[in-house]
């Protein structure tokens, strides 16, 4: 394959990466433009974009096994939680055999391997079941671990609240080479002043965004390669008709186990970079069922069985969170500041507009996410990316360049 072919095949990938890459400077430029208020209200801030990265990776890892083999991994939070807790405990020197100060990239990898091992253990009994029963047994396993971690005094003095990382920011990059590493975390991350002498300052948050983005990108390509390999084709064969896949001689049980382990691995990577950035972890934001549910929702919206779709679904989710949050601008603030007081105090059916904004908009992302989710399940069952692929008749990466060429002629 020539370089040109390669470039054409990955043109769409490159475009998406470019959008993500250019987002912080564009967003920054807009914030100091006359559209500052609108930017704050309608464009997600960098912290939300960081959540897109780690939650998007987690959702992709969920889709990797659930969307491609058809087995709903309802206990997927177990892997995310394992990655997150491992990183936090390792950073605090609480894991036997791993001295404090071991580079984050190494502990991240070890945590992910542990999660893959956990997936093998859970999968070895769970893959004897199918359908609802598989979903329930994986959920059961995850809940057992959740309850254990909530009461495990070794984690911290208050295990229900989880644990935090003391010390320096964790670094993403080449282990033991400071020059090739970036520390992450809103307060502990590397910040760059006067980048390359261009007079551009890059905040710690933005540096974290790029560092996490690199991990997500690498993970995405790894999973994408696997799905496009013969191994991935067997996964799809299992989804389409497991009996037939077995009949033509594939040891489907082993394939499912391996797919589960890989998906657990990347689920843990997502949890690990989340913990490194957030510098803390709690049972409820890592091991709990609702974390899996989050991935499930964004996967359906983005496109079940599309791998990249969940990232877009997560982007939509985080955009909704940002627009409806009151933390950093958001729609509610925009209306409150932009709309005259007389309008705000107008009564509609006994409720003032202001009260409506405060209760039905501010912080209500889950409501609208739920509504959008139900509408997708009913009317767009293939999700965003799945539907686009159906329309184009193939993956966007393959079909879009062909279409464009046709128009050019």
């Amino acid at each position: 394959m020539t370089l040109a072919d390669y470039a054409r095949d990955h043109a769409v990938h490159a475009a998406v990466v470019l959008v993500f890459f250019l987002y912080p400077p564009v967003n920054g430029a807009l914030e100091s433009s006359p559209l500052a208020a609108e930017t704050a209200a309608f464009l997600p801030g960098i912290t939300f974009m960081i959540a897109v990265l780690y939650m998007g990776l987690f959702a992709m890892s969920f889709d990797f096994v659930s969307g491609y083999t058809g087995y709903l991994s309802f206990g997927h939070a177990a892997f995310y939680g394992t990655g997150a807790y491992f990183v936090v405990l390792a950073a605090n020197g609480q894991i036997p055999g791993i001295p404090g100060g071991t580079p984050f990239m190494i502990t991240l990898l070890l945590g992910a391997l542990l999660a893959a091992l956990l997936a093998l253990v859970i999968g070895s009994v769970s893959f004897r079941l199918t359908g609802v029963y598989f979903a329930m047994i994986t959920l059961g396993f995850a809940q057992v671990i959740y309850e254990l971690i909530r009461s495990w005094g070794y984690v911290s003095t208050n295990p229900q609240e989880g644990a935090t990382i003391g010390g320096d920011g964790l670094a993403i990059g080449v282990p033991y080479v400071d020059a090739l590493s970036l520390r992450v975390g809103r307060l502990t991350g590397t910040s760059v002043e006067n980048l390359l002498g261009l007079g551009i300052d890059v905040s710690a948050t933005v540096v974290s965004y790029y560092a996490l983005g690199a991990v997500v990108l690498a993970s995405y390509f790894a999973m994408q390669r696997i799905l496009h390999s013969p191994f991935g084709r067997v996964m799809v064969a299992i989804r389409e008709n497991e009996e037939r896949a077995r009949a033509v001689g594939y040891p489907t049980y082993r394939f499912k186990l391996a797919a589960f382990a890989i998906s657990g691995f990347f689920g843990a990577v997502a949890g690990g970079i989340f913990a490194a950035y957030a510098r803390s972890v709690s049972p409820d934001n890592s091991y709990f069922f609702l974390v899996t549910a989050d991935a499930l929702i964004t996967t359906i919206i983005g496109g079940f069985g599309t791998l990249a779709g969940p990232l877009f679904g997560t982007a939509f989710h985080q955009w909704l969170e940002d627009v409806l949050s009151t933390e950093s601008g958001g729609l509610a603030t925009y209306i409150r500041e932009g709309v005259p007081a007389t309008v705000l105090e107008t009564d509609v059916f006994g409720l003032s507009v202001e009260l409506f904004v405060n209760t039905a908009l501010a912080g209500r992302a889950p409501l609208y996410l739920g509504i959008v989710f139900v509408l997708f399940v009913l009317f767009v069952p293939n999700g965003i990316l799945g539907t686009v692929r159906d329309r184009l008749g193939g993956t966007v990466g393959k079909r879009l360049p062909e279409r464009l060429r046709r128009y050019r002629r």
Binding site: L72, F141, Q143, R150, T359, R364, L367, V374, L378
Partner: protein, 344 residues
């Protein structure tokens, strides 16, 4: 108000710790058993609707817990509005039953509507989509509940204390039962659970719709081929299942361990799953037995922790989810389920 709730929530360990020979041991065992039955009644009530719906329709209703949560609030609302400081004990209990009836009627209607408008269009898809849809519905219900509560100035969590305060004094104390001090609330819960059990059992065995449901749980297509509109039976059963979920909520309203809070939604859902899977998805008898097993396991492990035999605070929850996992490993179809493991 909150003080009584607190003293109810934390079992006082003193009488449990007093070990004085075999008689005391026996007494403790009976107390743990009675408490287990009280918990079993709660588990049964929150799970039975789920099992009916799955049995007939093959739909695992993820909105079940959300409806229970709504039921707890609606029931609480009725009690808070009607019961005052001067209301007598019998009158309060009368209001409690009236609240159950009202909540059942309202939520049954709402459930039927959800089945007609949202679930019916997607029966021809894989079961995954029905799970997803009901899960989405539960998200919406929870958020609407949060909005309404916030507008009324009530904290969505922790529990709404006002309805707990309407519980008559009679239910708050302990009663002497064969020389054993048994918490009366547990006896009340056993009573209500028994009423629900008998009512559902009569519905299933003595009504034509009950007959359709039992036949349809075995073979939906055959029932259709006998000229019965199974879709209409689906609507009725989903409605009744929803109504039963809400009745469970009314029962939980006075229980300090549960009580009305938006978080009830997910808690109830997870526990209801455990019960119906251990019993066998779709089996009424299985749900009864499994609720008993989970209830007793819960009270025994709670007792082990409160007496200090085991210092691990999550023992009860871990045990319950381990029961789920263990059952799925050993016997995936559950105690009384039909053997067709996870057919899609």
């Amino acid at each position: 108000m909150s003080a009584t709730a607190l003293s109810l929530g934390v079992a006082d360990p003193a009488p449990l710790l007093a070990t004085g020979g075999a008689a005391d041991g026996l007494r403790t065992a009976v107390r743990v058993l009675v408490e287990g039955l009280g918990k079993a009644a709660v588990y049964f009530t929150i799970a039975v609707g789920l099992t009916l719906v799955f049995g007939l329709m093959g739909v695992l209703n993820f909105a079940h817990g959300a409806v229970t949560m709504v039921g707890a609030y609606l029931g609480g609302l009725v009690l808070v509005l009607v019961v005052g400081s001067g209301t007598g004990t019998l009158a309060t209990i009368g209001v409690f039953f009236a609240a159950m009836a009202i909540v059942f009627a309202v939520t049954t209607a709402a459930g039927s509507l959800i089945e007609l408008k949202l679930i019916r269009p997607i029966y021809d898809r894989t079961p995954t989509y029905q799970i997803l849809l009901t899960f989405g519905v539960s998200l919406i219900i929870e958020e609407v509940a949060r909005i309404v509560l916030t507008l009324r100035g009530i904290q969505p969590d922790p529990q709404w204390q006002a309805p707990m305060g309407t519980a008559p004094d009679v239910l708050l104390g302990r009663t002497d039962f064969l020389g054993i001090a048994v918490r009366r609330l547990y006896l009340f819960e056993v009573l209500i659970g028994g009423v629900v059990l008998v009512a559902v059992w009569l519905f299933l065995t003595r009504t034509l719709y009950g007959l359709y449901i039992r036949a349809g749980s075995e073979d939906t297509e055959m029932v259709q081929a006998l000229g019965i509109d199974v879709r209409r039976a689906f609507t009725v059963v989903f409605g009744v299942g929803t109504g039963l979920a809400a009745v469970g909520g009314v029962l939980l309203m006075w229980d300090p361990i549960w009580g009305p809070s938006v978080l009830l939604s997910i808690d109830v859902l997870l526990y209801a799953f455990v019960v119906v899977i251990i019993g066998g998805l779709g089996s009424f008898r299985g749900t009864v037995v499994a609720a008993g097993i989970v209830g007793i396991a819960d009270s025994v492990t709670t007792w082990l922790f409160t007496t200090g035999v085991v210092t691990f605070s999550g023992l009860s929850e871990v045990t319950i989810f381990l029961l789920l996992v263990g059952m799925l490993i050993v016997r995936p179809q559950g105690l009384y389920g039909v053997e067709e493991v996870g057919g899609h």
